[in-house]
């Protein structure tokens, strides 16, 4: 075991993993995180805590993870390279490990221009692939970027993200290979709606032999309303929402129920794809639906390892 995290045990044990996302509050209340943690605890194997997602200031991912950890939940600390230079990154990793955090997900982060402090200075000292490499080096060589020794172990399970449908698509699999070569143990993808397209993409992933080297968790976003479906189709790059899904949401009598049905159908198909080892549910501002989806998808009980 590289880290001994629950997520690692589930994936290395060959189980189909379920992870969920927890957005920290725009405030100081630990209760917000605790409430979400309590709600999702028995329905997933690990919980991602986002890191100032869309460049909007929220409680830090590290503190959110500690709050979950205290509840016996296995947290995945998301870390973007937008806000920290290599000194802060390595220092936060040391602290996170000391506090019992074992999973770290490496991301570039949305550009600061999108957030609530658009006049800030982005850091981007290293990129997300270099972050994966840095964490691997800290764990396996016990070395800082500068080459100096780290005292103590750095047990980490290293994650990276992938947006399969961002262009140029033909290069995306190669870039995934770069992340794997850099040292990613698991991958969480952007939300998948166009399963047919994703199946083709996974074929390319298998052709490169990447499915044997890394655990890929496919992203799932339950759609709450037709407006949300349209918004994602038109505005979120790297997300491909087929017209059929938008039509189904338009015609649905109860939009939320249709959204759940769509999510369940997608999950069913994802489970059948060779090389997909789990799902990552991102129910932004609709966390209550996660238990329903996991239960109805037949993914309960979660393994206790």
């Amino acid at each position: 075991m590289k880290s001994g995290s629950n997520l690692e045990k589930v994936l290395e044990g060959g189980y189909f993993a379920v992870t969920a996302e927890v957005g920290p509050p725009k405030g100081t209340s630990a209760k917000v995180i605790q409430r979400k943690g309590e709600l999702l605890k028995t329905y997933c194997d690990a919980m991602n805590v986002t890191d100032n997602q869309t460049a909007i200031v929220r409680m830090s991912s590290l503190s959110g993870c500690v709050i979950l950890k205290e509840m016996g939940i296995d947290p995945v600390m998301q870390m973007v390279v937008r806000d920290r230079n290599r000194i802060a990154i390595q220092s936060d990793i040391l602290g996170a490990v000391a506090l019992g955090i074992r999973n770290v997900l490496c991301l570039s982060g949305d550009h600061q221009r999108f957030g609530n402090h658009p006049t800030t200075k982005g850091v981007y000292d290293i990129d997300s692939i270099q972050l994966v490499q840095t964490l691997k080096n800290m764990r396996d060589e016990k070395k800082f970027i500068c080459g100096e020794e780290i005292s103590g172990e750095v047990p980490l399970y290293i994650g990276a993200v992938e947006t399969p449908f961002a262009d140029p698509i033909e290069y995306r699999v190669k870039r995934l290979a770069k992340k794997v070569n850099a040292g990613a143990d698991f991958i969480q993808t952007q939300a998948i709606f166009d399963v047919a397209k994703f199946i083709k993409w996974m074929e390319m992933v298998r052709d490169e032999g990447l499915d044997k080297q890394v655990h890929i968790l496919a992203g799932v976003i339950p759609i709450k309303s037709v407006g949300m479906a349209r918004y994602m189709k038109d505005n979120v790059s790297g997300i491909s929402v087929p017209d059929e899904i938008v039509t189904r949401m338009e015609e649905a009598k109860v939009a939320k129920e249709e959204g759940v049905k769509i999510a369940l159908e997608i999950i069913e198909q994802l489970e059948d794809i060779d090389g997909i080892h789990g799902i990552h549910i991102m129910a932004v501002a609709w966390e209550d639906i996660v238990p329903v989806i996991v239960e109805r998808a037949g993914l309960l009980p979660r393994p206790i390892l």
């Binding site: 570039s108 000292d125 961002a166």
Partner: protein
């Protein structure tokens, strides 16, 4: 070249309104090409400031002048006496020029009339684009001649990020994704596989993060010193 843009008129007026003798001082190299701070712009701005002064009923003498370059001492020599007769200089040179003149002009304040923006080119008349960030360690041979430091919004070394959208950057549909351009170019050059190697962390200390930079060419300094010795 260095691209600049004239500051908003109100901001300039606020800078000069409490002085009596103002020199609007243009530079006829980079900032003239981008229509921000050449002799012509200095003349126009000076007349606008005069008009404003008379509208406000304040007495300000606004003169204008321009020299070829504000970044080398010899260009200033013929005009310095004249420049010193004003009680403030509104420089339309780039920031380099404002700094350089400030250190040489004694007690007279030198204020910036333009915002110095970036190192760029002129793909079409009236359009200026940033292409280099002066990072001090050029890697264009690795990226097909397209700069990821200046042209990728996140200065990624292993792009593109997940935000690229139809060849455009996630920050705006008006901005090309540098990494998309890099990949297309590498494909054309038949060396796309170079992109499969992980590019290492950058040494940013060669750029503006390592403190102010200075380059000394010993051989040139030596020649100059010899000439001086000969002369005396």
């Amino acid at each position: 070249m260095i691209i600049g843009k004239q500051k908003p008129f109100e901001e300039i007026w606020d800078m000069i309104k409490n002085f009596k003798k103002v020199l609007v001082f243009g530079c006829n190299t980079c900032v003239a090409i981008c229509h921000a701070g050449g002799g012509k712009e200095a003349e126009i701005l000076a007349s606008m400031l005069r008009m404003r002064a008379s509208l406000e009923g304040v007495e300000i003498e606004v003169k204008h002048a321009a020299i070829e370059r504000h970044c080398e001492p010899e260009f200033f020599e013929p005009v310095m006496d004249n420049v010193r007769t004003s009680d403030m200089v509104l420089s339309l040179a780039c920031g380099v020029g404002v700094n350089f003149l400030s250190e040489r002009i004694g007690n007279i304040p030198v204020y910036p009339g333009i915002n110095t923006e970036f190192y760029g080119a002129v793909p079409k008349a009236g359009i200026f684009t940033e292409l280099c960030a002066g990072c001090g360690d050029c890697i264009l041979h690795l990226t097909g001649g397209i700069c990821p430091i200046a042209r990728c919004a996140k200065s990624l070394m292993n792009g593109p990020c997940g935000g690229t959208n139809n060849g455009k950057c996630e920050i705006s549909q008006d901005v090309d994704c540098a990494w998309y351009l890099i990949l297309e170019r590498m494909k054309k050059l038949g060396i796309l596989e170079k992109m499969f190697e992980i590019q290492p962390l950058r040494d940013w200390s060669t750029g503006m993060y390592g403190g102010p930079r200075r380059i000394i060419l010993d051989h040139i300094e030596e020649v100059e010193a010899q000439e001086e010795r000969k002369g005396s």
